[in-house]
Symmetry: C2
């Protein structure tokens, strides 16, 4: 299993309203949690960080994904009386069941690709914090070689709209997957680059793209993680 | 800034006693938290997961690294009456101060490399949970291009001892850094591969290697993360 993330901030905003974290599950496997807090900058960051921390804390205790999403929504609603909302996506690798569990509280759709077949999950889904008793949409798929999952925050959906050239994520995905056998990082980077380009290289919103891919086990048994963090702020400091 | 991790389990043990997670800091930047619970397998995993979760929860609230380490130690000591211990390393990128903050409660040393100069930090440091009032060793270094930090769990220190050929991490590091300009992932992989080879490809303990490297900003402003998770368990299931 390979997981890749590509993430940019809204143009000229130093803090992303999107938060993404990876947590190990107590029964094996791991979960990737992605939240997008309302608006952008510092306030949005605080919201998405709160949502992600809440969800991760519960997952680490063995709480199921759907219950963790509901709890985070209730906590946000109680705290902000429905005035502040946040989207949430969780992708969990469950080693016990041999499945990927995908949880969505996000109007932005997600894609499940198997070879030539590209399925879009776009059933209506509302963000956390909008009311009591938010229902997360949960999809469980068997982990099998070739499976690709693509999810993202709404910055990708809105890319290009300012110029009247909205991004067609499905078409983009189809063209990339037809031509090549991209790594998850290549796929995430390509989608993000296209969105940034449609926004004239000045993203109108924070954008995060998350790709999971199951490939046949090749090479060693080593777990690896690599993070690249551009340090603009520090460069300015020094 | 690039961060890389390479991690293997003890031979024939399905769960690693080492836990590593990355968390965003509320004031910008991020922290990497690595803990190694006593013994191996499921019990060790529960301990290291508890320590990492405790530390991460506090860091997310804006608690300073040293205070978070002390709190995790007190919690572990209270819970286990000093009978179970865990090592802890924290590497934090602090964008406010433009520094890396390195926290260590681990007898295993760590290395700070700047060009040809390789410094080893090996001042005595004891694990969490051993007594009340554990003091973490904290080192703060300016973030500057070329800086490389290497830290690891004791599986790397003990590699090869069974065969009377212990690993000399410093010498290995020097030879790799003299010959090449490795990426952090190459460096972590090389150290891990050497350790596994000294253990006859059957690691006598869980091993985790963490490398941070500051490189001049090249290319785009995209944050990236890639995770590779070998799914042995699932392969057996299906």
């Amino acid at each position: 299993m390979q997981i890749a993330v590509a993430k940019v901030n809204k143009y000229a905003v130093s803090e992303s309203g999107d938060t993404l974290e990876v947590v190990e599950r107590p029964n094996g496997g791991l979960s990737v949690v992605l939240a997008d807090g309302q608006s952008s900058g510092r306030g949005a960051k605080a919201i998405s960080l709160m949502v992600v921390r809440k969800v991760i804390g519960l997952l680490a205790e063995g709480v199921r994904d759907g219950a963790a999403a509901r709890a985070a929504s209730d906590a946000l609603f109680t705290d902000k009386q429905g005035k502040v909302i946040s989207t949430l996506n969780i992708a969990s690798v469950d080693l016990r069941s041999g499945t990927l569990v995908l949880t969505r509280n996000n109007p932005a759709p997600m894609f499940i690709c198997r070879g030539e077949q590209i399925d879009i999950l776009k059933e209506e889904s509302i963000p956390l914090g909008t009311s009591r008793n938010i229902r997360p949409l949960i999809t469980e798929v068997a982990i099998e070689p070739g499976l690709i999952i693509v999810m993202y925050t709404d910055g990708l959906v809105h890319a290009g709209k300012r110029r009247g050239m909205p991004m067609d994520v499905g078409a983009m995905l189809r063209s990339v997957l037809e031509d090549q056998d991209p790594t998850p990082q290549e796929l995430a980077d390509t989608l993000l680059a296209q969105a940034v380009s449609l926004d004239d290289n000045r993203p109108a919103d924070d954008i995060s793209v998350l790709v999971l891919k199951v490939t046949p086990l090749s090479g060693d048994n080593v777990r690896r993680m690599a993070v690249r963090l551009p340090l603009d702020g520090v460069a300015r400091l020094s």
